[in-house]
Amino acid sequence: MASIDEDSVVTLDNVTRTFKVAERTVGFGDTVRGFFHRKYTQIPAISNVAFTACSGEILGVLGPNGSGKTTTLKCISGLLTPTSGKVDVMGFTPHERDPEFLRRIGFIMGQRSQLHPDVSVFDSLQLRKVIYSLSDDDYQASLNELTELLGLAEFGDAPVRQLSLGQRMRCEFAAALLHRPSLVLLDEPTIGLDFDAQASIRRFVEGYVRAHHATVLLTSHYLADIEALAGRVIVMAKGHIAFTGSLAELRHMDGGHQLITIQYTEVRPDFSQFSWEDKVTEPKPGEIHLEVLRDEAPHILAQVGALSGVSALSLSDPPLETALSQIYATVSSEADAEQIP
């Protein structure tokens, strides 16, 4: 159970959300029978999810498709009412949709636009000025800041439907942050963007949090987003929270391994004298990988460094994907085991 402390902006306490889904059958006969005698199944999208996010924090939410990341954000935004459990956001119950609560949050959905497609971005922003009751001074200051940071000037007077994906995403950020919300929910904000656009969005989010001390909850399939921005991560799988902690702790989930990369020029070094020889792999010619326990790494590095033929040597943490894959596999096998009667 998540405790509510004074600094927490978002608190989820054993939140579960299920969806009632009609069972669909295959074939005409079964479909007709299903018309008269329909069966429903309760599908839990998230189960007993509990965590807190504090003021000024960027919290990354990771997980494969269907793990419950977006459902969690929708419960926090108030779009979805939890089936059970409690969501507290800045003292508000989100699904009651108090206007004051809505004034204090911004929600960016990478796959859904909140801008009117047929009018210019500046027209949409002007509407938001009125809806969010911004004074002329506040609106102008916020608009100037966003125009500069997001480069809106070059396409702000074009209809949204004519913009490229990268341009549209920048406009989505402007629309969602014009009223300077203290909680920002980012659901796949960089999906489909090229490398440069991703990097510029990351820089913008970082700058916004620093300038306004906002809390950000970020879901992304791009680990680079999470690594660049999030101080803490939640890993979700099959609707459950499988891990909460720092990125460093997540990397060490696989038992604290590190990767030694050895490069050689002409003759492959001879590892036969070492007990770890069978762990050596050669993913491409001239480059050897060796995954070792963190404690053993300095000793092995010294052993490799003394060998002849080694041209370069480096030590790195294994990619996050390794730890994540391990977590997903564990949760999936546990969930499968639960389903077996």
Binding site: L79, H95, R103, M109, D118, D123, S124, Y132
Partner: protein, 261 residues
């Protein structure tokens, strides 16, 4: 209150900007008068032989229906809400710190105003050319307009309630089309209630659609006298539908699964 009106004005202005940006769509929307005109042509012929109403009264009746059906937004509500749910647009509207119910009505209101623009020309031409015969009793005129407004509010509430079915029913298009057909009959577009069998005439007269459309037409054309049950029915519908909507909206929002995003 002023702030709320200002916000709604901003919404309507934005929707108006969007409609004005597309000339073909705007042009086509100006032909909302064709269907009432076709029914008028039919009933003008029948009216002169029936003894129920004169040809001038029939013209007056359909002139009122032209205005009422073009300003009516129930069809726009029932056909726009489903796509809003399934496209995810409703989710973005619900995130606004403003009445979601009113925001969703902004587009139908703009559409109704725009398609009513040609009536400024068409109605005087019809009235003069076809010798429309309206009542001149100021009390009846005031009562008809008042009842029409109450009926309009009732039909909006009714359509809203009906449109919420899109949150429960997967294939919503069919049932939305059903209401549209029922409205043509009950509202009095297909024929004035005076031409209908007694049971159907009373089904029409006790429906909110008739109050908003045909009822106003029959009163202003002098086909029917003002009667006590008309304001009772109008107020009754508003109270009942208002209460039902207050009960249904929170349930609909709990039912909302925010699909599409």
């Amino acid at each position: 209150m002023i702030a709320a009106v200002r916000k709604y004005g901003a919404w309507v202005r934005l929707e108006g900007t969007a409609v004005a940006a597309y000339r073909v769509q705007l042009f086509l929307s100006l032909f909302g008068w064709v269907v009432p005109l076709a029914f008028m042509a039919l009933w003008n012929t029948a009216a002169s032989n029936s003894g129920v109403m004169t040809s001038g009264q029939s013209t007056a009746y359909y002139i009122v229906l032209l205005v009422a059906t073009n300003f009516g937004i129930s069809g726009d509500i029932i056909f726009s809400f489903g796509p809003m749910v399934y496209s995810g647009e409703l989710s973005t509207l619900l995130m606004m710190p403003y009445s979601s119910v009113l925001v969703i009505l902004a587009r139908p209101v703009v559409t109704a105003v725009i398609r009513s623009l040609p009536l400024v020309v068409i109605i005087p031409l019809m009235a003069i050319a076809m010798n429309a015969s309206f009542t001149r009793d100021p009390l009846v005129i005031a009562a008809a307009v008042g009842l029409g407004l109450l009926g309009w509010i009732s039909t909006v509430a009714f359509s809203w309630l009906y449109a919420l079915a899109a949150l429960w029913v997967g294939k919503w298009n069919g049932i939305m089309g059903l209401l549209s057909g029922v409205q043509w009959v009950l509202g009095g577009l297909v024929a004035p209630s005076a031409f209908m069998p007694t049971w159907l005439a009373w089904c029409m007269r006790l429906s909110p659609f008739w109050l908003a459309e045909g009822g106003m037409g029959e009163l202003l054309a002098g086909v029917m006298a003002l009667q006590w049950w008309m304001p009772v029915s109008a107020v009754g519908w508003i109270v009942v539908l208002g209460l039902l909507f207050r009960l249904a909206w929170p349930r609909a929002m709990r039912r909302f699964e925010a699909v599409g995003i």
